[in-house]
Amino acid sequence: MRREGSPFKGTWTIALKEAADHITSARMHLVMVLVLLTAIGSAYGAIELLRQNADQDAFLFLKLMTGAREPLPSFASFMGFLIPLVAIALGFDAVNGEFSRRTMSRILAQPIYRDAVLFGKFLGGLLVLGIALMTLWLLLTGLGILLLGLPPSSDALVRGLAYLVATLAYAGVWLALAIALSTIVHAPATSALAALSIWLVVSVFWSITAPLLAQWIAPVDPLVPMSVITQFEIQQAIARLSPGTLYGEMTQLLLDPSARTLGPIFIEQLHGAVIGAPLPTMQSILLVWPQFSGMIAAMLVLFTLAYVVFQRQEVRA
């Protein structure tokens, strides 16, 4: 049956309202204070580190994000850990919250399609995440310029921006997951808990599980040297099911120009290579392209799940 009118009518209105709600909500303020404090802490640590062994590094600015001084982890690894939390905070009650506030039936009775509601919620969340990440990145760069007294190189800027886009995609995956859970689960508290559990499993336990699974699927045969590589590749494949792993790999390749590969390297492959020589920025971006595509795909799959469930949901649930 063909329906009249555009499914996107009102999407932008809902997205802007969602964004405004998020930006003024106490929940978002709390999470952002947490992120900001950790970001400043880790960046400060990195700057101290850079000052101690101020070498002639062409990519000083990238070290701001990857450099870690004990006991603090680096800015990048903090992001990998905390960005999902921000995204979950934005999305966990996107749909079931409207039901529990009894606003859903009223909104759906407006002259818009259901599609616009879900698209708007996702876009609104993504917009806020984008603003937050951009602000963080600008703050970090500003801090770097102030404390190091050096402007960033153009390569560092491009890599930094690519990292920003990758982070936004990573946040999008978690936002889509949170919205999907808020559609499937009726109570907002339950959907928040479910999202947080998945976050814990993926960011903490998955790296422990992957080697175990790989050992079980492809045990190492001491007589066949290739079996070691098979096991490693299987382990890597399993680990890459987690968006956290994909994001970690992207971070590593984008922020460290000397990183050339993520898989095993044979000695003959290194023949003629200058160890530690930086890779051109475009080459690094090409290297992370599969990871980036995987992240976008995960986001689309989760959003589609939310979309299908939401379209079939009864209004008086």
Binding site: R101, S105, R106, R316
Partner: protein, 311 residues
């Protein structure tokens, strides 16, 4: 003035294999106030959702202003406004901001909208609190804000689901006043309620829902004639008298209910003299005897009692 605006044919909706709405036919003309009455769970809200196209029917068809709510939902929802049962607003926004949001969704330009919003809020007497957060609003104020939203969008058809439930008598009276005004302006209003007494003053016609079917559609006079007729109810209070045994054979008595000292006798004519005579004859002491014509509320209750007995 009398074109058909809503037409439903054989509407059926099943949840988990049970027909919640079972073959409903309904025709509503412009300017009518139709009361959808029936106990909770009779299928009123589901019918409303199907009329609005918010729920897909398993069978049957709906034409709303000659459009199909499933095929052309935007046009239908533009013309018809729906005020859900216990409507919710965004508590952290003011009344004006809440309406501004829906105005934008309805596609009004901001300049146009602010005038419409001010007017609508004024009509439902919320202009004094327009810039207060809705979180502080009472239930009655929320319902009025819901009406303001429909007014602001200038809906020709207004479908109100249990608008009076949980309101105090003054707020109810006020709300009914607004509904009557809307009808006078030529808008069509559907009001659902489980209480007939509340909405009978504004309804031009009522539809009685029972177990997913419409048992009766017509004016209140028709309802009273159908269910009540000329029937009377006689309240009797007497001592040392067995009404059930001694009155049930009296010509004209339909039923005797109650016991001990008080009874209610349904009769087809005024039997007070005969009843008094019986009481005295049998040596009982007559304390009170009172006859009254059954009201619409009673007719309505009786309608559902009879139907649930029959089912």
């Amino acid at each position: 003035m009398s074109g058909t605006v809503i037409e439903a044919r054989g509407l059926t909706k099943a949840y988990k294999g049970r027909n919640v709405v079972d073959g409903i036919n309904l025709t509503v003309k412009q300017g009518e106030v139709l009361g959808l009455l029936g106990p909770n769970g009779a299928g009123k809200t589901t019918t409303i959702l199907m009329l609005m196209g918010l729920t897909e029917a398993n069978a049957g068809s709906v034409r709303l202003l000659d459009k199909d709510p499933l095929r052309d939902p935007l046009a239908v929802k533009q013309a018809a406004g729906y005020l859900p049962d216990a409507v919710g607003f965004y508590d952290s926004l003011t009344a004006r901001e809440n309406l501004a949001f829906t105005a934008r969704l309805a596609g009004f330009a901001d300049v146009d909208a602010s005038g419409r919003i001010g007017q609508a809020l004024g009509r439902v007497r919320l202009d004094g609190v327009a810039d207060r957060k809705v979180g502080t609003f009472s239930r009655g104020m929320r319902q009025r804000l819901g009406l303001a939203e429909l007014l602001m969008r200038d809906c020709q058809i207004m479908i109100l689901d249990e608008p009076t439930s949980g309101l105090d008598p003054q707020s109810t009276e006020e709300l009914l006043g607004f509904i009557a005004d809307f009808a006078n302006e030529g808008r069509t209003v559907l009001v659902s309620s489980h209480l007939l007494d509340v909405v009978q003053t504004v309804c031009t016609r009522v539809a009685l829902f029972n177990r997913g079917r419409i048992g009766f559609v017509g004016t209140l006079a028709e309802l009273a004639a159908k269910v009540g007729g000329d029937a009377l109810e006689i309240d009797l209070e007497a001592e040392s008298f067995d009404a059930a045994a001694r009155l049930s054979n009296l010509n004209g008595v339909d039923a005797v209910i109650g016991g001990d000292r008080r009874w209610r006798i349904s009769a087809s004519r005024d039997l007070r003299p005969e009843i008094a005579a019986r009481v005295v004859e049998s040596g009982g002491r007559l304390i009170a005897l009172d006859a009254h014509r059954i009201g619409l509320g009673e007719a309505y209750n009786r309608y559902f009692r009879e139907n649930s007995n029959a089912a």
